[in-house]
Point group: C2
Chain length 213, copies 2
DNA sequence: ACCTGAACACCGTTCAAGT
DNA sequence: ACCTGAACACCGTTCAAGT
């Protein structure tokens, strides 16, 4: 009663925005497993439970991070004159985007946002495939096959990157027991050049799907 | 002193084998994240610390599990008469093996065992590619491209499977905003038939890599 | 509206002590 | 040789209480 004057609202210790930014930094530095509510609180100089007031819980926080990352992705634009070159430019662009956000693929898939995330590139690919003269199921297959190929390639690549040392490397194994063709053994004893392999395999796939040469 | 007679060794409460078997069951049922040392101990009716005596720690336990799984994989054998068919049979077999052991890919990659795991299929593929007339870098590229394609496809597939619901499905998104070609929109509004997509894309890729038609 | 500490139910791991 | 409980340093989350 009486002197219940409107207290001036004290400046909040943290904001939802600050939590999201700190979380993004943690994920980029230490991966998703490195994001803990307690580390987050310590980083922000606040009690753990404050985080919960702003973002609900860890799962909701990750949901929000993924949404922001997906919306922050640059749109892909095809370049080149013929359909094969244009589809390849989209594939290369998609690979670059995925590689630039290494935590994203896993997070997106766990959250069931894959269709939403890949719809823009799907539309762009669909336009090029249609321009190449395909339609209906044939066109949808070509688009999806290209997407699966690119996304899958990056997943394999990423796993290979993150692997610690590769105890017996493929090189060692081929040198220990060579194939009949020594040239082939030597080729396998050379480490994978991911950029070249991506270019070779994607071009082969896309040409075949579009029925060019 | 004195009566220090050789105590008859009491039957151990658990064995290394029993720990490994229980751990395998836990991983198959609940995934890698579901494998906890305490659950394991509870399941075996023993103190947590006994587990440590037998297998060292969680990481070493997972190492051992992966080794066993990799060695337990069936060897792939090519079937069919022409090179394309034989390579495709290997690709299909590899996909089947990977799908049958859904936890394996991730575990293997984290442990740096990818080369060792995929060497057998790499050798089998190399033999077929050589029979098709390729050699050197060209042959190695064809083999690796096929492996990346298959492994990547399974990773994408697996992620799609594990996803909860896919909030706005690709079907919804295409129906909400159709493409210029209504037949194409309808094709995209149909859920992916993974078996067919794998067959179509892998055949296109392999034919192109082998230079057949 | 926003922050706090206490508490609960989980983790992996180490260690000294038992038999 | 094998098992034990106590202890430590971590988790995510809930809740009642403060201002």
């Amino acid at each position: 009663m009486s002197q219940e004057a409107a207290r001036p609202p004290r400046a909040p210790a943290v904001s939802r925005r600050a939590v999201l930014d700190a979380a993004t930094r943690l994920v980029e530095d230490q991966g998703v497993a490195g994001l803990s509510m307690r580390k987050l609180a310590a980083e922000l100089g606040v009690a753990v439970t404050s985080i919960y007031w702003h973002v609900g819980n860890r799962e909701a926080l990750l949901d929000e991070l993924v949404q922001e990352m997906v919306h922050g992705l640059d749109a892909l634009a095809a370049t080149g004159s013929d359909p094969v070159a244009r589809v390849l430019s989209l594939a290369t662009g998609l690979r670059r985007v995925l590689r630039d956000h290494p935590h994203l693929i896993g997070l997106v898939n766990e959250r069931g946002l894959t269709p939403a995330m890949f719809l823009p590139s799907q539309r762009a690919l669909a336009a090029e495939v249609a321009a190449a003269g395909l339609s209906g199921t044939r066109a949808a297959d070509a688009v999806r096959a290209t997407q699966y190929h690119v996304i899958g390639f990056v997943l394999v690549e990423r796993n290979t990157d993150r692997s610690p040392e590769q105890r017996p490397s493929a090189e060692d194994l081929w040198l220990a027991e060579p194939a009949a063709d020594p040239v082939l053994s030597e080729a396998f004893a050379t480490p994978v050049d991911a950029d070249r392999l991506f270019a070779v395999s994607t071009e082969a796939l896309v040409r075949a799907l579009l029925g060019k040469q």
